[in-house]
Amino acid sequence: MAKTPDPERLELLQGTLDMLILRTLQWGAQHGHGIGQAISSQSDDLLKVETGSLYPALHRLEKRGWLKSEWGISEANHKAKYYQLTAAGKAQLSRERDRWTQLVDVIGKIMNPAAE
């Protein structure tokens, strides 16, 4: 079943999901559902995170040691896995933020040279 792309919605840039996850977790532990919702609500529902990419990304980040996880009880009164930033994750977040800012600057310069 092919999904018709929602014209209003933005596709995530390759590699940015990891950064957004790290950023979302800056405020404390959260489960996968919460992370996905936080990302879409903070983007005014323009960014939509597919669960099929969210969970692999979470596990990948955990494997790299940037996240750690713990089982807890969610608002729905059900078992849920809560993810949390590690120290290495915090460092990684600030690295990614710098790189992103740089990238946005550079791309912006190229795309809108007149704006200088």
């Binding site: 489960h31 996968g32 969970y55 692999p56 596990h59 969610s74 849920a80």
Partner: protein
């Protein structure tokens, strides 16, 4: 399910619970909420796949790179087809031989039996090592004692083998039958596939005769005919009803055609059988009680046996040193095949080592040729691990193909090896090709692949200069050359071990075949003419034999006819040795009475079989059984060894001897020695001094074997003789006609097969080793073309170059043989711990093996050596 998968499921359930909760809060109905949540979640299997990639990313990467490398490897090997084919075939031989033999070893030595609860099935053996008897079996009173005293066993089953003339199923024939008690089948854990088996209610003298058909007999001889159940058959003098068919099972201790209850055998009902402690003919099986171990049973039965021995010292002479042994039935059945199979397994292992070192040589030579390629790759930044992986991928391709071919080869080999092993253990008959073949093949291929990948040396990435990169051509370093030679030497050494083993077996075989047996081998036909009754010959039998003898004597092409009780070698063990006393002879103090083999023959027996009469006279028809009114003197003829041992001064004739054994009569019955004949050994082919006493069959007797001396082709007489005898008595079986020469060949078959199979291994090993030596030398010569050219240019004689290459080959072989000898003795030392009766090779066998190896290797070295001496000087100098 793996833990990470289970956790993922849990996590997803948590996610869905939250989503559904939110949607319900937003006002959707629970059903709607659930459906929408699931839809929004997306396609689960795809996500799982993604997750696996995350979890096992390392392995994914490695596998992907390896597949890539293997593709490259396959392409590069296709460019070197000759080499690849040699490697694959060599490996296939090594892997195939190992896989096949391992299948058989597993089937025979390791697999459990089909019997229910086979782990509790015990075989109990009584032996008398003091007089060299491996299994004396048990007598009925002994079994009674054991049964009464044992607490570790749930039950005991009795089995004895007896010959019956079977009438009522096909032609009248003599068959091997098992006679069992009512507990036997229950102890053995066997079921009928038709009808019922012998049960405790079939025990006792009043029971009706019943017989169970073995599965093999029923399927092979009776075409699985279900209507045989319920039939009545004649077994010798009694009759029995067929009550059932046994499920397929390992025939042990004897491959019989039927198994009957005790009452079918008059012998088993007689006083001899039931009361005499030394009348041993029953095999004993036991079933352990649940929770008891075989060690407990062993120590308990050992104690019981000791007690029995001290209760009845007269039945257990200290000299025979009787013992009781307890073994799991499975081990007992496999035991005879064990040494043979272990030796074969070792031989196959050695062939594998040889094959691997040969392949290692080829790969090494190839890697020298591609040093240039590897150096370039290292120079442009390939890590050592990446280069190693390339090599590993290539050798995986090679070994994988070798394994596939090897397993294809192994399939028919399993059948051959199994039929070989079947001569030692019946279990080999049920060996089939199974998946273990695949696993062994794959395992060996992996081992070889890893080994081979680590053979070539890698150029260092830190220092990727060297001649390879500069010249891009073959330069052989002394290190590589040394490795090549070490591998070649290894091959020679291991081949030598196999060759020496094969030479030993061949030497034994040749010695046995050429031994002078004392018989006239080629012209004498031996035919089984089984007696209808067990025990002594009756006057009726004698009259029949006289008629038969007379009738056959008159046939054209017949030079002589005689009867006996024992066919040489084929009936080995049938009539044992019995103690005797002799007039004018007293054993020295503390020494037991001498023993002699007891034999019964008709007049002319010695003449027919070609045994020389050394003194006195042969038996005549007058040596017959007397009556009260007209007594006839009873006489014997003795063998030369007996005469010389008992009467060293040559006065044996006319002295009297008598048996000391109450089975043969309570009072000693002296008989006069009327003749002395040459020693013949009808038990073993390698002849030793034999103490034997011959009785005239008409006075003392058992019979059943007919001997005919032919003037022409003995085999041509078989048909007419059979017809003539059956014309006289249609129920008389006439069986197993063969010349003594045939019988010797038949008896030597296991030895011949041993030698044949082992020589096969040795031949393969020799071939591989010779190719290896020649290959190393050829490679050395081709790498040194320039050197040879220069040497020839400055005036070196071609002859000198030839001998220098040849001597290089000779050094490899010489070192190989010395190492092989050392290794062989070490190996034999280890092996003798596992395999008894291991034979050390004699000097002649060693020298023979060495000669074969040296000759083959020198012949193989000739070609590269000749090439070295004929190097074209100008071309050689131009090559660089």
């Amino acid at each position: 399910m793996r833990p990470e998968e289970r956790e993922l499921d849990e996590e997803i359930r948590g996610h869905l619970a939250l989503e559904i909760q939110q949607r319900i809060d937003r006002g959707e109905s629970p059903q709607q909420a659930r459906a929408n949540a699931l839809r929004q979640f997306g396609y689960l299997p795809q996500m799982r796949d993604e997750m696996r990639r995350v979890w096992y990313s390392r392995w994914y990467d490695i596998a992907e790179a390896l597949v890539q490398d293997m593709r490259v490897g396959l392409r590069s090997l296709l460019r070197a087809k000759g080499l690849a084919a040699t490697v694959v075939i060599t490996l296939a031989l090594g892997i195939g031989a190992n896989a096949a033999i391992f299948s058989v070893v597993r089937g025979v030595l390791l697999r459990p039996l089909v019997n229910r609860g086979e782990e509790r099935l015990i075989y109990i053996k009584q032996s008398a090592p003091g007089i060299g008897v491996n299994s004396t079996t048990f007598s009925v009173p002994e079994i009674k004692d054991i049964r009464e005293r044992s607490t570790t066993m749930e039950a005991f089953g009795e089995f004895s083998t007896i010959e019956f003339t079977l009438i009522g199923l096909g032609d009248p024939r003599v068959i091997q039958a098992g006679v069992v008690d009512g507990h036997y089948f229950e102890v053995m854990g066997l079921k009928p596939i038709l009808g019922r088996l012998v049960e405790p209610s079939d025990d006792g003298p009043k029971a009706a005769g019943v017989a169970v058909l073995t599965n093999r007999f029923w399927t092979k001889s009776l075409n699985s005919d279900p209507s045989v159940v319920g039939k009545t058959v004649e077994l010798g003098t009694r009759s029995a009803t067929v009550i059932g068919v046994l499920e397929p099972s390992v025939p042990y201790p004897a491959d019989t055609e039927i198994i009957a209850n005790m009452v079918t055998s008059p012998h088993h009902m007689g006083a001899q059988m039931t009361t005499r402690r030394t009348h041993r003919m029953t095999q004993l099986f036991g079933r352990l009680k649940v929770g008891k171990t075989i060690d407990e049973a062993r120590s308990e039965l050992g104690a019981i046996h000791t007690a029995i021995k001290s209760d009845h010292p007269e039945s257990y002479p200290p000299r025979s040193d009787m013992r009781i042994e307890v073994a799991a039935l499975r081990d007992q059945i496999a035991a005879p095949a064990r040494p043979v199979l272990l030796v074969l397994l070792a031989a196959a292992g050695i062939v594998f080592i040889i094959a691997c070192s040969n392949v290692a040589n080829l790969i090494l030579a190839r890697s020298v040729r591609r040093e240039g390629e590897l150096a370039i790759r290292a120079a442009v930044g390939a890590s050592r691990a990446a280069l190693r992986r390339t090599l590993l991928a290539e050798s995986l391709v090679l070994c994988g193909s070798g394994a596939v071919l090897g397993i294809l080869l192994a399939r028919p080999m399993v059948a051959i090896v199994a039929s070989f092993a079947a001569r030692f253990s019946v279990r080999a008959l049920e060996v089939t090709v199974d998946s273990s073949l695949l696993w062994v093949g794959a395992g060996l291929a992996m081992a070889a692949a890893v080994l081979l990948a680590y053979v070539p040396r890698l150029p260092s990435s830190q220092n990727p200069t060297g001649p390879g990169l500069a010249a891009g051509s073959v330069r052989i370093t002394s290190g590589t050359n040394r490795r090549l030679k070490i591998f070649a030497t290894t091959q020679v050494a291991f081949s030598f071990v196999l060759l020496a083993g094969a030479a030993t077996l061949l030497a034994t075989l040749i010695a046995l075949r050429s031994v002078n047996t004392g018989y006239d081998m080629e012209q004498v036909l031996a035919i089984d003419l089984p007696m209808q009754t067990l025990g002594a010959v009756t006057d009726q039998d004698l009259a029949f034999y006289r008629k038969v003898t007379q009738r056959i004597t008159e046939m054209p092409g017949v030079e002589g006819v005689a009867m006996g009780a024992v066919t040489p070698w084929r009936d080995a063990g049938k009539l044992g040795s019995i103690p005797f006393g002799a007039e004018g002879f007293t054993p020295e103090n503390g020494e037991e009475n001498p023993r002699a083999r007891i034999r019964m023959v008709t007049p002319d027996f010695f003449n027919v079989l070609g045994v020389p009469l050394l003194a006195g006279r042969d038996f005549t028809p007058e040596d017959r059984r007397g009556s009260k009114d007209a007594p006839v003197e009873e006489v014997v003829i003795v063998s030369q060894s007996l005469a010389e041992r008992i009467y060293p001064n040559g006065e044996a004739l006319n002295h009297r001897i008598w048996w000391i054994d109450d089975y043969l009569g309570p009072k000693p019955f002296p008989r006069r020695i009327v003749g002395i004949v040459g020693d013949v050994d009808d038990q073993q082919i390698a002849r030793g001094p034999v103490m034997a006493v011959y009785h005239p069959m008409a006075q003392f007797g058992m019979a059943g074997r007919l001997f005919v001396r032919a003037s022409g082709d003995p085999h041509a007489l078989v048909q007419p003789i059979t017809r003539a005898i059956q014309g006289m008595a249609s129920n008389q079986p006439v069986e197993r006609a063969a010349t003594l020469e045939d019988i010797r060949a038949e008896v030597l078959a296991p030895e011949r097969l041993n030698a044949f199979v082992f020589s096969g291994f040795a031949g393969v090993a020799l071939l591989i080793a010779v190719v290896g030596v020649a290959g190393v030398l050829a490679f050395g010569v081709s790498a040194r073309t320039r050197e040879f050219g220069v040497r020839l240019a400055v005036g070196s004689s071609p002859y000198l170059l030839l001998t220098s290459v040849l001597s290089e080959g000779a050094v490899i072989v010489g070192v190989g043989i010395v190492t092989g000898t050392a290794f062989g003795y070490l190996f034999a030392g280890i092996a003798s711990g596992y395999i008894q009766q291991l034979q050390m090779p004699g000097l002649s066998a060693l020298l023979g093996a060495a000669a074969v190896l040296i000759a083959a290797a020198l012949a193989a070295s000739m070609m590269p050596a000749a090439r070295a001496s004929r190097v074209d000087i100008l071309q050689a100098l131009r090559t660089e």
